[in-house]
């Protein structure tokens, strides 16, 4: 057999190997695409779980802020009183609380609107504006003594590598 092959006068053309090479090439491409889609799927699941965890963290932070008591009144009272008095006295307490409570978040935003959806306060912190990904993590409605309500919404920002655990610039 060995003799027959090596002593054959007939040449072996590359065209005989083309179909096999094409099959191998196509299979390799499909395998890579499949692995990529699997990776995307896993990443989607992980991101989803991570986001769900942040929703819980956001809710805990917001409720923690509203129920914290200072000088005999909770912060929900403070925000409501600030709204009624048309001053920004709640601003400092919001900044102090959330910056200490959320040190690992790239940036956060607290928006307060009245029942007519008119903005009362909008505080951004850290790299919120610069981050490409921003999303709402918690929302709470509190009553005001005059019968109105205030909607307090907390947003997180993500996607700014290098900012995590680094000093946050106060805006």
């Amino acid at each position: 057999m060995k003799y027959k092959i090596f002593n054959s006068k007939k040449g072996i053309g590359i065209d005989d190997a083309i179909p096999v090479m094409v099959v191998i090439f196509v299979v390799a491409i499909m395998f890579m695409l499949f692995k990529f889609s699997e990776h995307s799927k896993e990443k989607g699941i992980t991101d989803n779980i991570q986001q769900q965890k942040e929703l819980v963290q956001g809710h805990d932070s917001l409720m923690g802020y509203l129920t914290s008591i200072t000088n005999g009144m909770n912060n929900a009272d403070l925000v409501a009183a600030s709204y009624l008095n048309k001053d920004k006295s709640a601003e400092d307490s919001i900044k102090t609380y959330f910056s200490s409570r959320l040190p690992n978040i790239n940036g956060w935003r607290v928006k307060i609107e009245d029942s007519k959806e008119k903005e009362f306060l909008d505080l951004k912190y850290g790299f919120y504006d610069k981050s490409p990904l921003k999303y709402q993590v918690a929302e709470s409605v509190i009553p005001v003594k005059n019968g109105e309500t205030l909607k307090i919404t907390l947003y997180f920002a993500k996607g700014n590598p290098g900012a995590i655990n680094s000093p946050i610039d106060r805006q």
Binding site: P19, V20, V22, V23, V26, V27, M30, L33, F34, S37, E38, S40, K41, G44, I45, N48, I49, Q52, L55, V56, H59, M63, L66, T67, A76, D77, A80, S115, A138, E139, S140, V141, I142, P143, V144, K145, G147, E148, T149
Partner: protein, 370 residues
């Protein structure tokens, strides 16, 4: 072809088949990647989110209660502790000693010939009743502003020393996990006297947020049929008949508004026992008298006797109307046209489907009966 001496290789055909199969495989894989069904922890997070909503609502109620008490005390003090409204009954009362310079009189000293009459015009019971009434009114006002539906008049108040009010919820605030279709299971009886009355897996429909109902005859506007603070739950059959009635109401240039629909056994017991702000037990201490107004929620036949427990009964009115005699007549016409049966003693109470009263009405061929 068969005379051709040159052999035909299968490799090209196999290549085509392989590529075709590969494309199908990849397509299926990509389809699966688009939807992530039941990822780990999905249901747990769903429950957590619902718990968060509940926490928000409870916090809102707590804050509202605090402000309501402040406002109530302010109003009471401004009025000298008097409201000329009897608690839990909107009948206007007149303060026995009247007013002096616009202020209610607390003590009245009158001279009658040689006698001096001293009348104490304020008593603690009236003060407490007024405090509770005004507090509940203020709390309802706050609750109505909350984005989700929280039941009104749902608390039994106890006034403690130092003007501290404790409110016990008569009915739980419900937050649905998932869709709006409720599957009830057999209700656990709270008391040995109570029998579970709702068969398991009864289909109930929650329609408090339904804006439009789709029917074969077209869309029906359902906005406003369920006012804030009312629990709007019915069986599917009853809901379909309600949609029909709403369509008839629209044809008559008006619309309907529910005041009460399905009640759980706990809810019925709370109403009977006076644990809601309707205070039936206090207003009618005699049980026989109270049975005229509230269905007695105990006994093995309670499920048949109390139609609201079946989810096939509604207390209803015309939206935005004062409900004069002609309004009640129009309401009856609309509801009867849609196939409902009216309880003869209450112009607002209608039943359908498989209640005892409805079955009897069908047998007798009438639409109004006791």
């Amino acid at each position: 072809m068969f005379k051709n001496k040159k052999a035909i290789g299968l490799e090209w055909y196999m290549l085509i088949v392989a590529i075709f199969m590969g494309v199908i495989w990849f397509y299926i894989a990509m389809q699966n990647a688009k939807t992530i069904p039941n990822y780990v922890g999905e249901h747990q997070f769903s429950i957590l989110k619902t718990a968060n909503s509940a926490e928000n609502a409870l916090f809102y109620i707590d804050q509202s209660a605090k402000y309501s008490l402040e406002q109530t005390i302010y109003n009471l003090v401004s009025n000298g502790g008097v409201f000329e409204i009897e608690a839990n009954n909107d009948d206007k009362l007149v303060h026995p000693c009247g007013t002096y310079n616009g202020a209610y009189v607390w003590f009245q000293i009158a001279k009658d010939a040689d006698k001096t009459l001293v009348t104490d015009c304020i008593n603690e019971d009236v003060l407490e009743a007024n405090l509770e009434y005004e507090f509940n009114t203020k709390l309802n006002e706050h609750i109505l502003e909350y984005p989700s539906n929280i039941l009104l008049d749902n608390y039994k108040y106890t006034i403690n020393d130092g003007i501290e009010i404790t409110g016990m919820a008569a009915n739980p605030i419900t937050f649905n996990i998932g869709n709006e279709k409720i599957k009830t299971t057999t209700i656990t009886a709270k008391s040995s006297e109570v029998n579970p009355i709702i068969s398991s897996d009864k289909d109930l429909v929650e329609f408090s947020k339904t804006v439009t109902a789709k029917t074969p005859q077209g869309d029906v506007d359902m906005s406003g049929i369920c006012p804030r603070g009312v629990s709007c739950v019915l069986t599917k059959d009853a809901y379909d008949m309600l949609v029909k009635a709403q369509k008839r109401a629209k044809d008559h240039g008006t619309s309907l508004q529910i005041t009460s629909a399905y009640r759980s056994i706990e809810n019925q017991i709370a109403i009977w026992s006076g644990d809601t702000t309707s205070h039936y037990a206090q207003r009618y201490p005699d049980e026989n008298e109270r049975r005229k107004w509230v269905c007695y929620p105990y006994g093995s036949d309670v499920g048949q006797r109390c139609p609201h427990l079946t989810g096939n009964a509604v207390d209803i009115r015309l939206n935005g109307r004062a409900m004069t005699t002609s309004d009640w007549k129009l309401l009856e016409k609309i509801m009867l046209e849609a196939g409902w049966v009216r309880y003869a003693n209450e112009p607002w109470h209608f039943e359908c489907c498989n209640t005892q009263r409805y079955a009897r009405a069908q047998e007798l061929g009438v639409q109004v009966l006791v």
